[in-house]
Symmetry: C2
Subunit: 329 residues, 2 copies
DNA sequence: TTGTACGCGTTATCAA
DNA sequence: TTGATAACGCGTACAA
């Protein structure tokens, strides 16, 4: 492995001069620049980033933490992060934790211990206290999912209002027996979307019915089973709001299997506006989030934290997308 | 930021002793160990990895490069890599290039310049020459997709044989006019799968018909359009082999729209055994690759390269999965 | 315009 | 069992 010293020797100058040329800085005689660049090329030198980053106390790398890669929603957000990061000369690396607390801590420690300049957390199992601890010792921002903490800014949508809007739309289509298909975790989105659903019922004076609340795991197959059970139990309903598109699709498959017509008998709404919503037959109404913008904003927040400016939480606008699964009849 | 020096001062020992305790090495008096650990806890010290890695010329990080995250196939492979890596004390970080050559070079340079110990490339636009260059200066292995190079080992399936098997199955169902839906890129999988398709035709003495060859972009919507065009052009066919599951699904949607029965009128086969194959109606026959094993193997190869042992290319077994879209009638 | 010399934070060597 | 000190590779005051 060649070091800067080797370049210096080859070019017949000092290491300081080589460093200056490499960093395009200062004033170095053109002729000297040429000599150095030539030497670099000749011996095939490439600077050791550990040395450089150690000296500069900065890496130009930011991490993005999430639980699983198989998530269409996240990949668009990440694309947004990337766009904003590139503009500022940062590169991003993605850390998939598989929901393991150990993995989460490992990746956090990379930032704490200077292998990266900051981290954007899309989702994690960190408690508010752990998040706060992390945030106290290095730059962290939350994106999409979050725990409420004084010191860790987040960007998200208003999940409660979004769920309210989605439910109100079902109600406006004349539906009253609306199934809520959530997920029993502690993610803020799950909790707020349930509250938004209840807000809408309350506003329309529809009594809350516990039998209409069911839980899945975001996935397609599980939602099929859950819906199947609903039907077998003779629960009567005329609409279904799932907090993920995949669950909406799974529910619809179960409904179709029992010759329950969509949207005539049951209206269905999903969440996230992923590909499956228009790929499915009938196409699925859903809630759209501005993923790219969310990613870009998350990076802006992180950059502010890195540069030790203040960063406020940011709420972006969602949009209700109406498709065939809730078409008014 | 606390340094090891601060711990030494706090504990009243030398930095060398602190380092020894931190690395659990050597023989340090138990009482001293206790003092040091206590001091670490008290001042909240965490070692700077840039310093450590610089000194040890090793990071314990390996990169995984791919073009896009929205790929179910890749995320399973990555999971395999992760499983194997963890066992050996390595952590992985994922680098999404978005097919940009510039991004690819940036991530490669992180390895070249010591911010990571090696890289597993799932797909890239690197030429054989570029791959060889990279491989000459740091540990690289290819996984799933590859370019043929003396120095860069790969693990993959026998794509040609897999496509042959899939096509033969269609032929054995009595089909003769088999559409091949490929992708016009230079990925080895695309090329080999086309050759496998032709192998099967040749073996069955079915003349090759250029009109039955169409191209998409791996995606659902595009495949719909391509199939639509096929139908509008009155091209007659009784089977379709797509080199991705999403394309198979897109084609099926187009067929259904024209009341063409699957599998009665047209049999369809996809590739990769992703979720969509059983989520779709009818369920889609496909080719399954051992993704976890592929990831694990890729890591083994990389580890060999890192430890400067020799590594041979490895071919894993594929499997034909028969579902409703090719059910014999 | 260039070179010398120090410091970034760590581990490894050697001597005590 | 411990401590002093020399690396690791780089950037940058400061001096020339």
């Amino acid at each position: 492995m060649k070091r800067i010293k080797d370049v210096a020797k080859e070019a017949g100058v000092s290491v300081a001069t080589v460093s200056r040329v490499l960093n395009g800085s200062d004033a170095v005689k053109v002729e000297t620049q040429r000599k150095v660049k030539e030497a670099v090329r000749r011996i095939g030198y490439s600077p050791n980033l550990l040395g450089r980053n150690l000296r500069q106390n900065k890496t130009g790398i930011i991490l993005v933490m999430l639980s699983t890669l198989t998530n269409n929603f996240c990949s668009k957000v990440i694309h947004g992060i990337e766009l904003a990061a590139k503009k500022q000369g940062y590169n991003i690396m993605i850390c998939a934790t598989g929901d393991s607390k150990e993995s989460e801590q490992t990746y956090l420690s990379f930032v704490r211990n200077k292998m990266a300049d900051g981290i954007i957390i899309l989702n994690s199992n960190l408690t508010a206290q752990e998040m706060q601890m992390a945030s106290a010792s290095f730059p962290v921002v939350q994106c999409s999912e979050y725990v409420d903490t004084e010191r860790t800014p987040y960007v998200s949508i208003d999940n409660r209002k979004a769920a309210y809007d989605a439910t109100i739309n079902l109600i406006n289509s004349g539906r009253k027996k609306i199934v809520f298909m959530g997920v029993e975790n502690n993610l803020v989105s799950s909790n707020l979307r349930f509250l938004g659903y209840r807000d809408a019922l309350d506003e329309a004076n529809i009594p809350f019915d516990e039998n209409l609340i069911v839980y899945g795991n975001y996935g397609y197959r599980n939602a099929m089973r859950v819906t199947e059970k609903l039907i077998q139990n003779n629960v009567s309903f005329d609409a279904l709001f799932a907090i993920s598109d995949r669950m909406a699709a799974g529910a619809m498959t179960a409904l179709k299997k029992h010759d329950i017509k969509i949207p005539d008998d049951v209206c269905v709404t999903g969440f996230d506006n992923t590909d499956i919503t228009y790929l499915f037959e009938p196409s699925i109404s859903t809630v759209s989030q501005p993923q790219i913008e969310m990613g870009e904003t998350a990076f802006q927040l992180l950059l502010a934290r890195i540069e030790e400016e203040t960063a406020e939480n940011i709420i972006l606008q969602h949009k209700i997308i109406l498709r065939d699964s809730t078409k008014n009849i």
